[in-house]
């Protein structure tokens, strides 16, 4: 007893609840720092509210009004009725009318339409003769979700609509056959759709972070002061910071695509060179956007938050996870502003549909425009002084 008493008395007197006091001191300090960083504080509120409302309204897993092309080789009442019946299902929205098979194929391959309906020559006559001719509905099945529900609804709905419209009797006596043709991914395997999209998603995440931290890191470590006192121009700083990561991104892309082909059996139907070229463009676009973030934010935490704020819509609104055509128009406009949207289209088109450059002009130009825009903002935003 006496021994322990002397030891206790010999110790420096520790205030009661030392653990809690010290933890509390730390906690108070953290709250003060959090409150000082206004931007981070605002993002804590904005991030969940904005993202939830945005995605809550935008995401639709049973998409309607999907863009559809019609190849009419005869202009008849029956043909028009069938098209009207299809449009009445609300799944199809006829955006294009073409007259040659080549145009029809091009629209599907470039992703401008998700469905194509072909009414063959002599269709009405064949129906009247009771030959049960075939009505071809081709679907771009690279995204099984988008195509699936529409194709599933097609047969019964059109039949009922037509029965009502033309009084041709009950469904069993269907006077023609609807032949659906799921192109590009006939077995509706989702991995064929997911893997190419993942190439873009993974690259977005990694590339954005690389450059988003680059300028803030220089500021936080104090090296920016030295750098600014030397004769270097904002454009030169930007290129110096982006180019190494283009190489890094290229290696990553090669790895992901390689694994996709070898492990998941995803084909590359189109040109590998074109894929490499456009992937490099996409990588550079993301690096430019990350770098732009870096010139806007004040510290690394804000850079990370901004990157997340950009990354989430990229996943959800780009058509990677949910069908792009199924989103409301305003959400589609947002999607068009995201590089991933264009790259998902490009990479799916090249790998699964064997698309060539002429099918991908729009998305390529969009990517390049986004890249140039980001770079211009970055160069003008880059502060050359410490003012």
């Amino acid at each position: 007893m006496s021994a322990t008493d002397t030891i206790r008395n010999g110790e420096a007197r520790e205030p009661a609840f030392g653990f809690w006091r010290r933890s509390y001191a730390m906690l108070v300090k953290e709250f003060i720092q959090l409150r000082r960083d206004r931007v981070s504080f605002a993002m804590i509120i904005m991030l969940p509210v904005l993202q939830l409302t945005l995605f809550g309204f935008a995401i639709n897993t049973t998409p309607r009004n999907l863009p559809t092309a019609v190849l009419t080789q005869e202009d008849t009442d029956l043909g028009r009725s069938i098209l009207k019946a299809m449009e009445n299902t609300a799944y199809f929205h006829f955006t294009r009318e073409v007259h040659t098979v080549a145009e029809f194929d091009e629209l599907l391959q470039s992703g401008k339409v998700l469905f194509g309906v072909e009414i063959p020559r002599g269709f009405e006559r064949a129906v009247r003769r009771g030959d049960k001719p075939a009505l071809l509905v081709a679907a771009d099945a690279t995204d099984p979700t988008a195509a699936g529900s529409a194709l599933g609804a097609l047969g019964p709905l059109v039949q009922t609509a037509l029965a009502h419209d033309l009084h041709i009797g009950d469904p069993p006596d269907m006077p023609f056959e609807i032949r659906t043709h799921a192109r590009y991914n006939p077995a509706a395997e989702s991995r064929l759709n997911i893997v190419p999209g993942l190439v873009g998603t993974i690259l977005t995440m990694t590339m954005l972070i690389f450059t988003a931290l680059s300028v803030t890191r220089e500021i936080e470590r104090g090296t920016m002061e030295s750098l600014l006192s030397m004769p270097i121009k904002p454009v030169e700083v930007m290129f110096g910071k982006i180019v190494p990561y283009v190489l890094v991104g290229f290696i990553q892309a090669a790895l992901i695509i390689g694994i996709g082909v070898l492990l998941f059996g995803v084909p590359i139907l189109g040109s590998l060179t074109l894929l490499a070229l456009l992937t490099t463009l996409f990588i550079t676009t993301n690096l430019s956007i990350g770098y732009t973030f870096s010139t806007i934010v004040q510290n690394q935490l804000q850079a990370m938050q901004l990157s997340m704020m950009f990354f989430l819509p990229s996943i959800l609104l780009s058509g990677f996870m949910f069908p792009f055509a199924g989103m409301p128009v305003w959400a589609q406009y947002i999607g068009e502003g995201l590089p991933l949207t264009h790259f998902v289209r490009i990479v799916r088109a090249i790998m699964l549909k064997g698309a060539a450059m002429q099918n991908l002009q729009y998305d390529t130009i969009a990517l390049a425009a986004l890249m140039l825009f980001a770079m211009t903002v970055a160069v003008t935003r880059f502060r050359r002084t410490l003012d």
């Binding site: 002061e225 030295s226 600014l228 006192s229 050359r384 002084t385 410490l386 003012d387």
Partner: protein, 319 residues
């Protein structure tokens, strides 16, 4: 154009820094107020003043890192507002906080600087500089792992590497041991002998005395400038040195006397200073006969002058 109306042309080549009326505010607080200064080429110009007096801000304005709110001037003949890019090519700036890349080696840091300035043989230039600053054998060490003295040498090496005409050194010897400090100053004098102009800010009085000219700045105002002797003479301060024992009571008593502006202990002696010679003598008269102490009139030291200037400027500008 920016110098005096007639002397501008003839002085253009002999003056490295010539600025007038520089003013800079941050968030409504004026950090530099109507500051004018001239620095001769090839001279070492000391920049003194208390913390937060505007030294760093002035240096940053001179090398184009900050834009002055008002005022104008030239640095190496280039306009500080319009020709920041040209100034940056010919000025070496050593920041107060170590600002080279900590995760790059000594050699890599120097090669980076050499390449950035477009030097034809970056490797060779870096190797020469490593030898000159005595870092041979440490070239592959990461800059972040160097000790304070070595870091400071590396920083000086990096900013002299592109052969600048003007060096701006912001408290380069803060936190460095006396030996390293002396070596550093020898290097500065060697560089000045080669024709380089050096503007150096410091808190150390012994360093101020190593400068050809000094300027004292407090609360953004330039209060005194010239050679050390000129600054001391201009202060018109009278000082008595007291030697003896037991100053504690004396210090407290003298501090509040009218005529005594400053009492400062220096080891075994005490410096008692006043701006009014007669008033000072009247104040100390009662103590001069005490056998405990020995009183002797002396020259004020530079430190006496600066502490007096600081005290006065506080009264004037801080209210």
């Amino acid at each position: 154009m920016n110098g005096g109306p007639t002397s501008a042309q003839s002085n253009a080549s002999s003056i490295a820094i010539d600025v007038k009326g520089l003013t800079k505010s941050f968030g409504g607080r004026e950090v530099v107020h109507d500051l004018s200064m001239q620095v001769k080429r090839g001279s070492i110009y000391g920049f003194l003043g208390p913390n937060g007096s505007g030294k760093t801000t002035t240096i940053r304005i001179l090398c184009g890192l900050l834009t002055p709110d008002s005022g104008e001037g030239t640095c190496l003949g280039y306009d500080i507002r319009r020709d920041a890019d040209k100034i940056k090519r010919k000025v070496g700036y050593m920041t107060q906080r170590f600002s080279l890349y900590q995760d790059l080696s000594v050699r890599e840091n120097l090669e980076f600087v050499a390449r950035l300035y477009g030097m034809p043989d970056a490797r060779g230039a870096a190797a020469d500089m490593i030898a000159r600053i005595g870092l041979k054998g440490r070239e592959e060490q990461l800059a972040g792992e160097l000790s304070g003295g070595w870091k400071q040498r590396l920083a000086l090496g990096a900013c002299t590497l592109p052969n600048p005409q003007l060096l701006l050194l912001d408290e380069p010897t803060a936190g460095v041991d006396p030996k390293a400090r002396r070596d550093f100053w020898n290097e500065i004098h060697a560089l000045a002998a080669e024709g380089l102009t050096v503007l150096v800010s410091t808190h150390y009085m012994d360093e101020a005395e190593r400068c050809h000219e000094i300027a004292y700045i407090a609360y953004g105002h330039l209060l005194a400038h010239g050679t050390v002797d000129e600054v001391i003479a201009a202060s018109a301060l009278s000082t008595w040195t007291v030697t003896g024992e037991d100053f504690n009571g004396l210090m407290a008593e003298l501090t509040d006397k009218p005529g005594v502006d400053m009492v400062a202990p220096f080891g075994t002696s005490l410096h008692v200073s006043g701006r009014d010679k007669a008033a000072l003598e009247a104040a100390i008269a009662p103590y001069r006969d005490n056998s405990k102490w020995h009183w002797q009139p002396s020259e004020p030291s530079l430190e006496d002058v600066f502490i007096d200037l600081m005290g006065r400027s506080k009264d004037n500008f801080q209210g």
